[in-house]
């Protein structure tokens, strides 16, 4: 016989202002199976909780309904209180008469009646609740960091320094990401590589970090604590254990005119290459699309010159599987290419470049050894026009967001140009200057006042070539919209930061949500900025939205702290609200007919087949089996099961049918 306790909260006046709480308590006391029904001003307060605890002991309650706020608010509070009084916490339910009743309806009988209906529904549900025990799953204390830019490097080092194993997966032949391409960094103008490359070496050397470069995520199964990550190691056509990184192959490779990705197409590389001299690991890979051997079937110069015989032309992609407790996404961003701008020449003018290309021109290790020279003829430009917000804040380009980093790097570019070409004039067309970081505004002022960068507030409508010059036509909105025409030698577009190529596929592999611009979504914009809505998968850096280096590093350390926090326990406690296949005594064993529809619909691959055998080992029946470690409790299989053989704890058939009946039968 059920003995249910009903506890009606006034929530100060939040509920009692529109709901007659005394009446609800009185009516509820007459529901079948209700042993005690009381109302109280603040049920969540200490005396309120004690009221619940005492009633559980005094009336030997078999279930508790707390009618108060949303279960999303105080369900854990009251479940803990029940547990303290010796009642299984899963025998406690919340009836939401605040958010779903008192706050959204006017005072009156209809509102009180709705509260009564809600309480009755939950009383009927809780009568059918089962005592459940939380599930404990062991945690594999290895983190997989996807992406080896500054975010991934920072996060990996933080986690590894805390004593946990890290596997880093990088798509390119070297870690370093975009930061390794930058010349100098704002607002201090210190050299980017000087800060980053020691950290890259730390990653490679760290005993807790396993580094896989030229590798991609093939698939991810499992859930928080126990992900099974399959990594594809793309063939480098080379035995890394044998290769010493001497570089003889690179020098002799006959294919030398491949536009270098690292140099943003401004420099050339060979078919067997390392992306840049400071690469980690500093061992080459063969780009099979451009290698003569793979195209024509002969060449093998690299194999001949290799002193250690490390080249493996027949090497195939291989796979490694990693058991990981957490995943950290740090896949970074990309920039819109100049070809996206018909008004600025569709990318066909060689001297219209994007910000990342300018970084390479200004970099001491770049194609011009740090001299600012036009890509078309190698001349030193006398006038450069920088166009900010190229694509950003532009709904016509489908990107209404601010890319956040361009104001600062444009100021930096203009400054670097002025430092290198003293007689040159940098112009910046801008919409607004957004310099909100520490020392950022001062940096922009310095560009304007000390380096005499000419800021023009307005947009550029057109850039076209005429007599070897680029004519930039714009408008100065501070001069009442007066047209401006500048004969420039070079134009640099601060193109919008966009989600990295392949982020959509990766998000789908990982079941992580992403926004309409394909940036990964955080679990909560304010309170959970480094978590995704998939437990155990965390975010760091510009894969979430474009970020500058300090912000990226802060986010990476934040995400790493979350991973370390997760790994500080040996077991992960999970709610036992999962699906189960109902069993029955022999000879039936289970009503499951083995249609295995559930296997198809399960989003977590949590269902497999179970063979029921007799004593001699003969298979009597094959039925579904749900892995409690993988099941997340969505219940899709329950609704799909034709024979009603699967049920979900906490929302089982008895409970939900009783709820529907109770809700309507006043």
């Amino acid at each position: 016989m059920a003995r249910i306790g009903v506890f009606i909260c006034h929530c100060g006046e939040n509920i009692s202002a529109t709901v007659d709480c005394e009446k609800v308590a009185k009516v509820a006391s007459e529901f079948p199976g209700v042993a005690v029904s009381v109302d109280y001003k603040y049920m969540c307060s200490d005396p309120g909780q004690n009221l619940v605890k005492e009633a559980i002991i005094e009336h030997k309650l078999t279930g508790v309904v707390v009618s108060a706020c949303s279960p999303r608010m105080h369900e854990p509070t009251f479940r803990n209180a029940c547990a303290e009084a010796g009642l299984n916490p899963f025998l406690c339910e919340m009836a939401n008469i605040r958010e779903h009743c008192s706050w959204v309806h006017e005072k009156g009988d209809a509102t009180t009646q709705k509260a009564i209906d809600i309480v009755r529904t939950l009383v009927e549900k809780v009568k059918r609740n089962e005592a459940l025990a939380p599930i404990y799953v062991p945690i594999s204390k290895t983190a997989v960091v996807i992406g080896g830019g500054v975010a991934g490097i920072q996060a990996a080092l933080d986690i590894a320094d805390a004593g946990h194993k890290v596997v880093m997966v990088e798509r390119e032949p070297s870690i370093g990401g975009h930061m390794s391409q930058l010349s100098e960094t704002f607002p201090t103008l210190d050299c980017s590589q000087c800060i980053l490359t020691p950290r890259m070496v730390d990653v490679a050397r760290h005993p807790n970090i396993t580094l896989y470069t030229y590798a991609e995520i093939e698939s991810v199964d499992g859930s928080i604590g126990n992900f099974n990550v399959k990594i594809r190691l793309k063939s480098k056509s080379l035995d890394e254990k044998v290769c010493t990184g001497c570089g003889a192959c690179i020098q002799k490779c006959p294919v030398k005119k491949i536009p270098s990705e690292f140099e943003q197409g401004l420099g050339m590389r060979t078919a067997i290459y390392v992306p840049f001299p400071q690469a980690v690991p500093n061992k080459p890979v063969i780009d099979r699309k451009n290698c003569t051997y793979y195209i024509k079937g002969k060449c093998k110069v690299c194999e001949i010159v290799c002193p250690t015989k490390a080249i493996r032309f027949d090497q195939e992609d291989s796979f490694v599987e990693v058991q990981a407790g957490a995943l950290l996404l740090a896949t970074g961003f990309d920039v819109l290419k100049t070809s996206a701008f018909p008004e600025y020449g569709y990318g066909k003018y060689k001297d219209v470049i994007d910000g990342l290309q300018f970084e390479r021109l200004a970099s001491a290790s770049g194609p011009t050894k740090g001299e600012i020279r036009r890509p078309s003829d190698g001349q030193i430009p006398k006038k450069i026009v920088f166009i900010a917000c190229a694509g950003s804040r532009d709904p016509a380009k489908g990107r209404e967001y601010c890319s956040k980093i361009c104001c600062m790097y444009t100021a930096k570019h203009a400054m670097l140009y002025k430092h290198k070409v003293h007689e040159g004039t940098p112009y910046i067309f801008y919409m607004d200057i957004r310099a909100t970081g520490k020392m950022y505004e001062e940096f922009v002022r310095r560009a304007i006042e000390e380096d005499e960068v000419k800021y023009i507030r307005g947009r550029v409508s057109q850039v076209y070539e005429k007599n070897g010059k680029l004519i930039v036509r714009g408008v100065d909105t501070l001069l009442m919209g007066q047209p401006v025409e500048i004969e420039a030698d070079m134009v640099v577009l601060a193109t919008a930061g966009i989600a990295n190529q392949g982020s959509e596929e990766l998000a789908q592999k990982l079941h992580v949500s992403y926004d309409k611009h394909k940036f990964f979504s955080e679990a909560h914009p304010k309170l959970k900025p480094v978590e995704t809505n998939t437990a155990g998968i965390f975010l760091a850096g510009a894969c979430q939205s474009t970020k500058d280096i300090p912000e990226t590093v802060a986010a990476a350390s934040g995400a790493a702290a979350k991973v370390v926090g997760l790994f500080s326990n040996d077991m992960l406690k999970r709610d036992p609200l999962i699906a189960i296949v109902k069993k029955s005594p022999p000879p039936v064993y289970s009503s499951c007919t083995g249609c295995f529809m559930c296997i198809q619909v399960c989003p977590y691959q949590a269902i497999d087949k179970e063979e029921i055998k007799d004593r001699n080992g003969n298979i009597i029946k094959t039925i579904s089996h749900i892995n409690p470690g993988l099941c997340q409790g969505c219940g899709t299989c329950v609704a799909f099961c034709k024979s009603k053989s699967i049920d979900i704890l906490g929302y089982n058939h008895d409970q939900v049918y009783a709820e529907v009946s109770a809700l309507l039968n006043e």
Partner: protein, 155 residues
């Protein structure tokens, strides 16, 4: 809320919602103090994918005049694909309703995210208004009760 001006019919609407989006969205309606008709009562499910459409039949059999099913927007499902499965079954359920002669305006399917408190209030109010005009669903109640739940037994 005084809505009974000249007829005394108060529609009973049951809302089957998922825990992660619409339930939270309805919580937000409360937190934002947006008022809506008290005729709708919510039953919480982990996911719209869990909602067995026999439950909707059960609700009609027990006297509901209308039904709302609401979950996360496509691609926002907490369980990645539960809402897509719900939508597929929903299409079949609608065909069934159509076949037995039920007015399609009595069954509402929507996506309400955890940030769409105002949308939830709007959906509830329009649904209640529509059903108020349609009147009680008594004929379907008898039909469903006699045909579907005969052998299963009611309660």
């Amino acid at each position: 809320m005084e809505t009974n001006n000249n007829n005394s019919f108060e529609p009973k609407v049951v809302a089957f919602v998922c825990n992660w989006c619409t339930y939270a969205g309805a919580d937000l309606t409360g937190t934002s103090r947006i008022k809506y008709a008290p005729n709708v009562k919510i039953i919480r499910f982990p996911c719209t994918g869990r909602i067995d459409y026999m439950l909707l039949m059960k609700a009609f059999a027990n006297g509901a005049d209308g039904i709302i099913v609401s979950g996360c927007h496509p691609n926002d499902c907490h369980y990645t694909s539960g809402n897509f499965h719900a939508r597929r079954r929903w299409m079949i359920f609608r065909n069934l309703c159509d076949f037995i002669g039920m007015d399609m305006n009595r069954v509402v399917f929507s996506w309400v995210s955890a940030a769409e408190g105002a949308k939830w209030a709007e959906i509830v109010n329009t649904t209640v208004d529509t059903i108020r005009q349609l009147g009680p669903a008594t004929s379907f109640q008898k039909l469903i009760k006699n045909s579907v739940f005969e052998e299963v037994g009611n309660e």
